[in-house]
């Protein structure tokens, strides 16, 4: 079966979506884990809330950044392919 239409553009669009989507799975789990664990920790020791929140945001940003590595590579592949 012959493929007609603009196969190259379709493949590029698929590539961008798939790369970003798969790249977001891990960090999504990680971010949820960080917030969940912080809630747990604050539940145990409410007096440490301030310090824990600082660590939480640090961990959140470090984890979230991994999505952007996937997104960045997806853009690179999108623009050079």
């Amino acid at each position: 079966m012959a493929l007609d239409g603009n196969v190259e553009n379709a493949a590029k669009a698929l590539e961008l979506g798939l790369a970003t989507g798969f790249g977001a799975i891990g960090p999504g789990v990680g971010v949820g884990f960080i917030f969940g664990k912080t809630i747990e920790a604050v539940g145990r020791q409410p007096e440490l809330r301030g310090q824990l929140q600082g660590l939480m945001w640090l961990g959140f940003a470090l984890t979230e950044a991994i999505v952007f590595y996937a997104l960045g590579m997806a853009f690179v592949a999108f623009s050079i392919a």
Partner: protein, 288 residues
């Protein structure tokens, strides 16, 4: 009916908005020192980052603070206690607290200005017969050059301070994890391998620190642009699928905009400054 604004949005290419400005600068200077949109945004952020604290100080600090002073004090407290003290040791505070605080304010201002629509568009829009520049949102930090320059500053400060406080040999030794066996013929391959890994991890810090800020802002702006433009992009400037276009694109765009402007803009500045403090502090006091 083709609405003029939607028509303009239908020719909108999100990626081009972040690359096109480089090739048409306002003032063309040699050596790549062009004054383009990003430079104007950096200048605005710099002026704001200097002026806002200055205005607060000039108004006079009162023992019973008003709303403005309370906000300023809260931000200062955040920068001193959460950002600087989480990384910098006591002897480094005097020298590097101003640097870290400046990083925070400067990046925060660059991010925040990026969410105010300003008439700096690369194209002009025909708005019912009137040629006006496009209002657009654009952040200077959505440029790799800007974030890379800030990252390299932290990188060099970190290593220069590490060498100044510990000496070259002592500083290089401090990269190695504790508990390694003493250097001998038998342990040499292991120690060399770990040394190479540590050098790579130091270099990767440049990439991770600059890419985090860059892609957070770039992706944030792209997502806002895509959602707000969905209204026009789907129908080629016409309201064909109007329930999808108006009822999904618009609220999602506004929601992402609110999230980015309130949380991400400040958070990324916070993270960049905190990590800079941790890196510099770690070099000054390796076992800290």
């Amino acid at each position: 009916m083709i609405l003029p604004l939607l028509d303009a949005a239908s020719q909108f290419d999100p990626v081009a908005e972040f690359t096109e400005f480089v090739s048409n600068p306002y003032v063309d200077l040699p050596l790549g020192l062009d004054i383009n949109k990003a430079v104007i945004y950096i200048w605005m952020a710099g002026i704001l980052a200097v002026l806002l604290p200055l205005i607060v100080i000039r108004r006079g600090l009162k023992p019973r603070p008003g709303a403005v002073q309370t906000t300023a004090e809260a931000v200062y407290d955040l920068v001193e206690n959460q950002v600087a003290r989480s990384g910098l040791p006591e002897e480094g505070m005097r020298t590097w607290f101003p640097y870290v605080a400046t990083l925070f304010f400067f990046i925060w201002m660059m991010n925040l200005i990026g969410f105010i629509p300003l008439p700096f568009g690369d194209h002009e829009v025909d708005l019912w017969g009137l040629q006006v520049p496009q209002f657009q949102i654009y952040a200077a930090t959505a440029n790799l050059s800007v974030t890379l320059a800030l990252t390299l500053m932290t990188f060099f400060i970190q290593h220069i301070e590490g060498i100044r406080y510990n000496g070259v040999i002592g500083y290089l030794k401090s990269w190695m994890p504790s508990g390694l066996p003493a250097f001998s013929v038998k342990s040499a391959p292991l120690i060399i391998l770990i040394g190479i890994i540590e050098v790579i991890s130091q270099l990767v810090r440049i990439v991770s620190l600059s890419f985090r800020l860059f892609f957070n802002l770039l992706a944030g702006h792209l997502v806002i642009a895509v959602f707000l433009a969905i209204a026009a992009l789907l129908g080629g400037g016409q309201l064909v699928f109007w329930p999808v276009q108006i009822l999904i694109g618009l609220p999602m765009g506004v929601a992402i905009f609110a999230l980015e402007a309130t949380l991400i803009a400040g958070l990324q500045a916070f993270i960049f400054a905190t990590l800079s403090a941790i890196y510099i502090g770690g070099a000054i006091h390796p076992d800290h």
